[in-house]
């Protein structure tokens, strides 16, 4: 038998009470979330750092001489994205010093570029024997460039303007047809 609890003088099933949405999901919050996601996606810009110096609070994109890339806040225990030879990993910074950046717990997220096509073609015939990469040591002398990843204000503004207008028109259409 379902457990019941009091709410506003009425007995309602506990399970129903626990649900954040027990009926219709409001149109406003749904559109708001959708707009927020659309506005914020892809609205960043990269600003080159001339002397290559960066702080652990800054989100950066580090490109190494051999094409490897490291993205995120380079701080101990911080989560970063690392790509090498067309494979993108997500991992944790275990140590940072003037000489090296050490990553651990790297988990493959996706393959990108031409390598992805090869991987897809060979997927059925490949035998995976190697364990996930546990540690990568990146020498700072191999850094080719450092770029700060920052929010692109004007672009966010433009996108916000458009998607707000789109949301208003969508609400008007739904209201007319309801």
């Amino acid at each position: 038998m379902a457990r019941l609890c009091h709410r506003a003088g009425r007995l309602v099933p506990r399970a129903r009470r626990a649900l954040p949405f027990s009926g219709r999901v409001g149109l406003g919050p749904t559109l708001g979330l959708l707009l927020g996601a659309l506005v914020l996606s892809g609205c960043t810009k990269r600003v080159p750092v001339a002397d290559g110096a960066f702080e652990n609070t800054q989100r950066v994109l580090i490109t190494f001489k051999d094409g490897r890339e490291l993205r995120g806040k380079i701080d101990r225990e911080g989560t970063v994205e690392y790509s090498e030879a067309g494979i993108e990993y997500r991992g944790t910074v275990s140590n940072v010093n003037d000489v090296q950046i050490v990553l651990r717990d790297l988990v493959k997220v996706q393959t990108v570029g031409s390598r992805q096509e090869v991987v897809e073609r060979m997927a059925d015939s490949r035998l995976y024997l190697a364990a996930p990469r546990e540690e990568v040591i990146l020498d700072r002398v191999d850094i080719a460039s450092v770029e700060r990843v920052r929010a692109d204000g004007p672009r966010i503004g433009r996108a916000a303007g458009f998607w707000t207008a789109a949301g208003v028109v969508a609400v008007l259409i739904l209201r007319e047809r309801s």
């Binding site: 004007p154 433009r158 303007g161 458009f162 259409i173």
Partner: protein, 504 residues
């Protein structure tokens, strides 16, 4: 005592449907008293023409396919946009212009309408039997303001080979505007020793119209020439909801009225565009004749429930009908004498008077029904617009626009020489309502987004029946025609978002 008599008289006045029915159909054989002073009248199936006897404003439905076309830039240019249209907004103008698109684009468009009126010819004094006279201190028939969606569209190139290109699009847009919401406010004062105000209001909200949903294909044959076509699945629902209120210092349950139509059909637009670089362009659009089916038609009204006065409840079903809407043609040109200056002009034409009407099923029940008729009149319009880019900063450009258009309505005015809506003559047998509109606006293009704003003001004179009461009000014995000088202000906002590698 006087308040009670006035209330009773006003309640009768605010039951125009019932009054008109008595005149239109003779003794309401379907009427039955349900006790408590309620008289329920079920008219059964009636013709759309009979709606003029229920409420002339519910019958008055000009089909506007000029002011509804998308883009605030188009509105600012007075609708001279056929050869100027670009991006997904072009779907509503010339589908061929879609072929110039380089990358995928999204487009949204909405508008805001408000209006005001000056009314003349209303009675200054009404006599209420046994209660004396009440004097009019004000009478307004104002268009109601409101926001409306106009279009949402997207398009992208789907095939390229050399100079040739195929672009596909998908859109929702308003095809015909049929909404004319109004608010009537009649202020009186009872002129006895102890004078007090009396206010009658009739507030009619309207939503919906004829919408078009469908795909578009445009093919660029060469850099100079392109063709395109829209397939429009016509759909939509129009709903009118009125509320009658009497404020005479005593609580009175309000009356109400509602009518709904559902639209259904299929149409095409064909377009062609010829351009010499960005200096000169001409474009044409042809929309073949098509059928629009109008169904729904559920009518219901309840008069104000005043003490001592029977409340009339009226139900009817407007019989479904088909409109064979004639073809439309538009041609436009654009010339750019200076790099920053563009001048454009359009001509459009649709012979609405050739619209053929027929019932989709059995006709109305009553032999006294008026013949199936909508007094639609031909519409030919001229549009002229000028655009000048006033500012070209590093982040984009800002053009300003002005325009003019003649914009006759497709429904003829009331014939003020007619003495009654119930004498068998078409009460809307008057002249064409010829109007013109001036417009202005500006645009901002920055990065991958363009915002446009346009405003338009149109003015015209129209005949109305006093308090929309076709049987006369307060036993005045006939129709009281009013002249309404009306001004409509429309504002439109549109936004375009471009995807693709060329996006800064």
């Amino acid at each position: 005592m006087n308040r009670r008599r006035i209330l009773t008289a006003c309640a009768a006045a605010a039951a125009p449907a019932a009054t008109a029915i008595l005149l239109l159909f003779g003794a309401p054989t379907a009427a039955r008293s349900q006790g408590g002073g309620v008289v329920h009248v079920d008219l059964g199936n009636i013709s759309v023409s009979d709606v003029v006897g229920l409420n002339p404003s519910l019958y008055y439905r000009p089909f506007d396919d000029l002011g509804v076309r998308p883009s605030a830039a188009a509105m600012a240019l007075g609708g001279a946009f056929l050869a100027r249209a670009s991006g997904p907004a072009a779907i509503g103008w010339s589908p061929a212009s879609l072929a110039e698109m380089e990358d995928g684009e999204l487009f949204v468009d909405g508008s805001l309408h408000s209006g005001s009126s000056q009314t003349s010819g209303y009675p200054a004094e009404l006599t209420i039997p046994g209660a004396g006279s009440i004097f009019t201190t004000g009478y307004r028939v104002d268009p109601k303001s409101g926001a409306r969606p106009s279009a949402a569209a997207g398009a992208l190139p789907i095939w390229r080979s050399g100079e040739m290109r195929l672009v596909g699009g998908l859109s929702w847009r308003r095809q015909y505007d049929v909404s004319y919401p109004e608010e009537i406010v009649n202020d009186f004062v009872f002129g006895g020793v102890t004078s007090f105000p009396v206010v009658l209001t009739r507030d009619r909200k309207e939503r919906g119209g004829v919408e078009a949903i469908g795909p578009t294909l445009a093919f660029r044959v060469s850099p100079q020439f392109a063709v395109g076509a829209n397939l429009n699945a016509l759909t939509g629902r129009w709903r009118a909801t009125s509320a009658f209120d009497i404020d005479v210092g005593a609580p009175v349950p309000p009356g109400g009225e509602r009518l709904t139509y559902v639209y259904d059909g299929l149409s095409f637009d064909l377009g062609a565009r010829f351009a010499l670089g960005n200096k000169i362009a001409v474009a044409a659009r042809f929309s073949p004749a098509h059928t629009l089916e109008v169904s729904g038609g559920a009518y219901h009204s309840e008069s104000v429930a005043a003490p001592g006065q029977p409340q009339f409840i009226v139900d009817a079903k407007v019989v479904g009908y088909e409109m064979e809407i004639p073809s439309a043609f538009a041609v436009g040109g654009m010339i750019r004498p200076l790099p920053r200056l563009a001048v454009s002009a359009d001509l459009t034409s649709r012979n609405w008077s050739e619209t053929k009407l027929s019932y989709t099923g059995a006709g109305p029940d009553s032999p006294f029904s008026l013949p199936l008729d909508l007094p639609l009149v031909d519409v030919a319009s001229l549009h002229v617009g000028v655009e000048y880019v006033v500012w070209q900063p590093s982040w984009g450009e800002v053009p300003i626009r002005v325009g003019f258009r003649s914009s006759p309505l497709s429904f003829s005015d009331m014939d003020s020489t007619d003495v009654s809506v119930n004498d068998g003559d078409p009460v809307f047998g008057g002249d064409e309502i010829d109007t013109s509109a001036i417009s202005a606006g500006f645009g901002v293009t920055t990065g991958n987004v363009t915002f446009d704003f346009g405003a338009e003001r149109t003015s015209y004179e129209i005949q109305k029946i006093y308090f929309d009461s076709p049987g006369g009000i307060l036993a005045s014995g006939g129709n009281d025609f009013l002249t309404v000088d009306r001004s409509i202000t429309s504002m439109r906002f549109s936004a375009t978002y471009r995807f693709g590698a060329g996006t800064p």
